[in-house]
């Protein structure tokens, strides 16, 4: 029997195990929407295509599955570009289907034509323009495979309208073989041995771990190895959640707004064990001062990440889970007295932690944003929350003050730093887990870049809580202007913002507000008790800064402290 392209699309997604997609209709994809009308494939219709892309990403981050979104040609497609770039920078598996004008019209500047393949070439793992209905099923199979294996990333499939109306025989491929794509999963045993030897020889080693641990589902192996070898762990922004914050071996986040101890440890270490992290400039600070006295082991599934920014002594290409498994095996057979070996190093770290913990000046009169996060952390203990963040100061305080117990509980735009990411990403996670507690930590600036998705939240009863740390300014920009531009607050003050309580109410959600420190706990508890989407407006101190801070281009140990 022959199916139309639109039917093949739906059948292929079902065969792929997709349960939910995020999208927005338009002319070029109407054949698909017609098929969705009475299909078992669930679809959430958003309010802006950027929202659909971020929701698909949030869904992927929370579940570990591939996120899917569907948009029309032209403006529908271009509206997803930020979302695609965001997923690319953070290596999140996603397949984005874009409508396209009929094959014969491509290149004619037809109505709502955009060369989305060209536009997204540098921010996709791969992309396809389907030119024959016959190829559609195979293309979809390949796209999901490529998006979710190796170093994951977004794949775009551009679907000309006549491909969707055309017919072909449908059989979803059982297996695929790509001669040009075979990611290396198994770490080379000799390299793993070499790495282990270096770990045995080190005196002040640090495990520096990133989002790769979460992608490869390697948290358990990481905890096992760290505990056995008594090596302290620092996580990147993307790696938060991969190692329990409360462990005595946890140093917290490193980098520009990392903890004093994490940054000092990276400066003083004699062996960096990098696992699924990529030595981003926000992590290394000034490159020539980074790891000056340290050897570097770098394990990553992407050979291209190894040796890109920092010289590596022992490269190990492979899945970090497999590599950690290898290290754990070696550690099991080995007789090193690790506790004794790293005692001195761990004592030094503890001394640093005592002397320079995260701190801020408390206040009885104005709400400090850090205080809100401490209270959010306290009041959500044991409730298995998933946190998302926007971008800016609020994001950094969330990274610093929330305690993480497991992977896939913290979703933030790490590589691209996209304001407007958090809310739709949180909704995507909520759609995956309707009953879990999902909280977006937002700034008043960021939340205005996608607040239209409140309508989506209400429509689909996604009871996400949005905690706005409202400082009436683009805080992170203001902070840089205070430090580096003589307090000339050029266009960063934003006192004209909507009444967030009324905004929520206008959409049929709930709005709450706290203006005094004494109200904070009460309002959080109230918000958590409501079975609907809630916006909470925390009116916080305007001129609060994020500390520690390593100014851009400075060495990691060159931190501004409170």
């Amino acid at each position: 029997m022959k199916l139309t392209g639109a039917q093949i699309f739906v059948e292929s997604l079902l065969a792929e195990g997709v349960e939910l997609i995020f999208g927005y209709p338009g002319g070029a994809v109407l054949p698909i929407y017609d098929t969705l009308y009475d299909s078992e494939l669930k679809h959430i219709r958003v309010r802006h295509e950027q929202g659909a892309a971020h929701m698909a990403e949030g869904y992927a981050r929370a579940t570990g599955k591939c996120g899917v979104c569907l948009v029309t040609s032209g403006p529908g497609a271009t509206n997803t570009v930020t979302g695609i770039a965001n997923a690319y920078m953070d290596s999140i598996p996603m397949v984005v289907f874009t409508g396209q004008v009929p094959v014969a019209l491509i290149g004619n500047d037809a109505f709502q034509e955009a060369d989305i393949i060209g536009i997204t070439r540098s921010c996709t793992k791969h992309s396809y323009l389907v030119r024959n209905t016959r190829d559609l099923a195979q293309t979809i199979k390949e796209a999901f495979y490529i998006a979710s294996t190796g170093k994951p990333g977004p794949v775009v499939i551009d679907l000309p309208k006549d491909i969707l109306t055309g017919e072909a025989k449908f059989a979803y491929p059982e297996s695929i073989a790509l001669r040009s794509y075979n990611p290396t999963y198994k770490g080379h045993p000799a390299q793993i041995k070499k790495a282990f030897k270096a770990i045995q020889d080190a005196h002040r080693p640090v495990l520096y771990v990133g989002g790769g641990i979460i992608t490869s589902d390697a948290s358990e192996e990481l905890v096992k190895f760290a505990e056995k070898s008594r090596i302290p762990v620092t996580t990147t922004l993307m790696g938060l959640g991969s190692f329990p914050s409360k462990s005595e071996l946890s140093l917290g986040m490193l980098g520009m707004h990392g903890t004093y101890t994490a940054n000092m440890a990276m400066h003083e270490t004699d062996l960096i064990i990098a696992l699924g992290a990529r030595f981003d400039d926000r992590v290394t600070g000034r490159l020539d001062a980074f790891a000056a006295n340290s050897k570097v082991i770098h394990a990553d599934i992407d050979p291209g990440s190894i040796g890109k920014n920092v010289g590596v002594d022992i490269p190990v290409v492979g899945d970090v889970k497999d590599i950690l498994h290898g290290l754990n095996d070696l550690a099991k057979k080995d007789h090193t007295d690790w506790a004794d070996k790293h005692d001195k190093w761990l004592k030094t770290l503890r001394k640093w932690q005592k002397a320079n913990p995260l701190k801020y000046t408390r206040s009885k009169d104005t709400i400090k944003p850090q205080y809100v996060l401490e209270m959010v952390d306290k009041l959500t203990k044991g409730k298995d929350p998933i946190f998302a963040t926007e971008v800016g100061q609020a994001q950094m305080w969330a990274a610093q003050y929330l305690q993480f117990t497991g992977p896939r509980t913290f979703m933030t735009s790490g590589g691209l730093g996209t304001m407007g990411f958090g809310f739709p990403a949180a909704l995507g996670a909520q759609a995956a887990f309707p009953d879990r507690l999902v909280i977006n930590i937002a700034g008043d600036g960021s939340i205005q870049m996608n607040s239209q998705e409140l309508a989506t939240a209400v429509e689909y009863n996604l009871k996400t809580k949005v905690f706005i740390l409202n400082n009436g300014t683009l805080g992170m920009v203001r902070q840089w202007q205070e430090f580096f531009f003589k307090k000339r607050y050029s266009y960063s003050t934003m006192t004209e913002f909507p009444d967030f309580v009324k905004l929520a109410e206008a959409y049929g959600a709930v709005g709450l507000r706290a203006t005094k420190p004494s109200e904070v706990q009460k309002v959080i508890k109230k918000a958590l008790s409501i079975d609907k989407p809630v916006f909470v407006d925390f009116v916080v101190e305007m001129e609060e800064n994020v500390f520690p801070m390593v100014p851009a281009g400075k060495a990691l140990n060159d931190m501004l402290l409170v």
């Binding site: 297996s175 695929i176 073989a177 001669r179 040009s180 992407d302 040796g307």
Partner: protein, 172 residues
């Protein structure tokens, strides 16, 4: 240092722009790039001549390998390989310099492929160095136009760059 990189790619729509985009997006330099079909109609071969220190060349190799349509990458610079480039050169032909053009063409084992009242067009094939040496010699005689193919290269002997079939998996 100058490197010559052989790349086998899927003969598909858009591959060239992916590779060109990779070089421009990451700030790698391209001295020349040639593409053409191979013995297998589904595979094209590119020869890319680029410059960079070891770190950059390593990144170029790795980033090329990361592209899904790239089947194999080999930096042949340090191997023994044969390479050729072809060039067409149009020169002012005057009463006075015609014999010199012909003499140069003969020394460089080129061919005059077109003769017009005011110009000669010469074809030269050889290594990049040879082709450039010819240009140097012919410049003073009144060089008008140049078209070059860019370099193509093959490793010598049994060393071969071939596309092996992928291993089957169910994509999970």
């Amino acid at each position: 240092m100058r490197h010559t990189i052989s790349v086998l790619v899927e003969n598909r729509f858009g591959v060239l722009s992916r590779i060109a985009g990779l070089f421009s997006g990451r700030g790698f330099n391209i001295e020349s790039l040639t593409v053409g079909p191979t013995e297998d109609p589904s595979v094209s071969r590119m020869t890319i001549v680029t410059r960079g220190d070891n770190k950059i060349i390593e990144q170029i190799n790795k980033q090329l390998n990361k592209l899904i349509d790239v089947i194999r990458v080999r930096d042949v610079t340090s191997e023994t390989y044969v390479d050729r480039e072809m060039m067409l050169v149009k020169v002012n032909a005057t009463e006075k310099n015609r014999p010199e053009i012909l003499r140069m063409t003969e020394i460089f084992r080129g061919k005059v492929v077109d003769v017009c009242p005011k110009t000669y067009t010469v074809e030269i094939t050889g290594s990049t160095e040879k082709v450039e040496a010819f240009l140097e010699m012919i410049k003073p005689l009144g060089l008008q136009e140049v078209a070059r193919t860019g370099k193509i290269a093959l490793s010598r002997g049994v060393r071969m760059l071939t596309a092996k079939p992928g291993t089957k998996n169910n994509g999970k």
